[in-house]
């Protein structure tokens, strides 16, 4: 039996994808990655991860769209939006669409991102 928590990372920037992947594996999570929104949505629906890290500006389908589709699909998976858009209007839009929390990448160290992930997982 594999009872590791499964996390899906939807991020197109290679360095960030790699860093998140490494840190999450080090912390003992099962990691799935998608480099575009379409694949992200597919994996989310098929694999039913315990948590999704979702970028907003993505090829093929943007993060807001993915978020909307997932919530329309009645999926309750916690979703952390991880982006560099920092306008209040973007934050509000993500929360309105049903994001669990919103993090601005450049303002957070990896350890802070990790802390948020643990917090979110323990609440659900």
């Amino acid at each position: 039996m594999d009872n590791k928590k499964k996390i899906l990372v939807v991020e197109d920037e290679a360095t960030l994808q790699k860093a998140l992947n490494d840190v999450l594996v080090q912390e003992g999570y099962n990691v799935l990655s998608a480099l575009d929104g379409m694949l992200g949505l597919d994996l989310a629906l098929k694999e039913k991860p315990d948590l999704i890290l979702l970028d907003v500006i993505l090829p093929k389908m943007d993060g807001f769209e993915v978020l909307k589709k997932l919530r329309e699909n009645d999926s309750q998976i916690p979703i952390i939006i991880l982006t560099n858009l920092s306008d209040i209007s973007d934050i509000q839009k993500a929360l309105d669409l049903g994001a669990t929390t919103y993090l601005v990448k450049a303002d957070f160290h990896l350890d802070d991102v990790l802390k948020k992930i643990k917090e979110t997982l323990s609440k659900n």
Binding site: L16, N84, I88, S89, D107, D111
Partner: protein
Amino acid sequence: MINKIIYKVFFKDCRENNLGLWQCPGFLFLMMGFINIASMLGVYVIVREYNVPELVVFSVSAVSVIIFSIGSSAINGFQQIAKANKMKSEFVSIASHQLKAPLSGMRWATDILLRDKNKCLSDKQAEYLKDIQENTSRMIRLINDLLDVSRIESGKMDIGLQTVDLSGILKTVIKELSSFALANNAELVVSVDKDLGSVKTDSIRIKMVMQNFIDNAIKYIGSENGIIKISLKNKGDEVVFTVEDNGSGIPEKDQKKIFDKFFRSGNIAKKQTIGTGLGLYIAKAAVESSNGSIGFESKEKKGSIFWFRLPARNS
């Protein structure tokens, strides 16, 4: 003196925006004024001398055409100034977002190398990596500041007002700045009232304001044994945050410009090169959009006290 005023009122914006004289609204309005007066007098003279109605009609229409074309030229000038401003803030916003992606990459990559679980670095290597991290953080802060400036200028600095825990935020800020204080021989003395009441502001922005007050007090300490008194007090229907230092102070002639964009006072700009002069400009916008007020008192070579007040509701 009068030359200067005329220049400032009529021409300055045009010079800054690269507009020629005949596109410059200030200058065109001045001309329009003169033409108006001259043509009034002209019509008066014509009527008195010749008493030919056709001539009056002709000259009035001619003047109208001239005024109309000058007017449309002026409007054109206004539009160009507006366009230039819009382009400037769009540029800042696009450039900043594009810079944030690679900087996040640098921050996270060095985060990984510096993690406890990757303890394979020599002390020297770790030290240099920390330097990279610090420099990355400085760039990120600069970009965030520029973004805030462009938001303020385009009137889009909406801030989310929520009930915040000011003393908790202060604790974090002090923890983050304690090693910087130590490195500058500055002692931080903190006093916080137990019950602060409930305060509504934007937690990220107000944290930046507190950070900048304390960061300034440490940076501009200018002496060997700096003492910085930090306090959060409940004053009835207001919470007052103050940071008092015994540092280099601000020369009298610079005091009215302290909250201006990019302004740095001459007494410190030479000694302390780190800083862009945006901290207090943004702080003022942030505090005021939370319905608060901000200010300071300072004496050169003696020290300064910076404060902000936010409305509070006592429970």
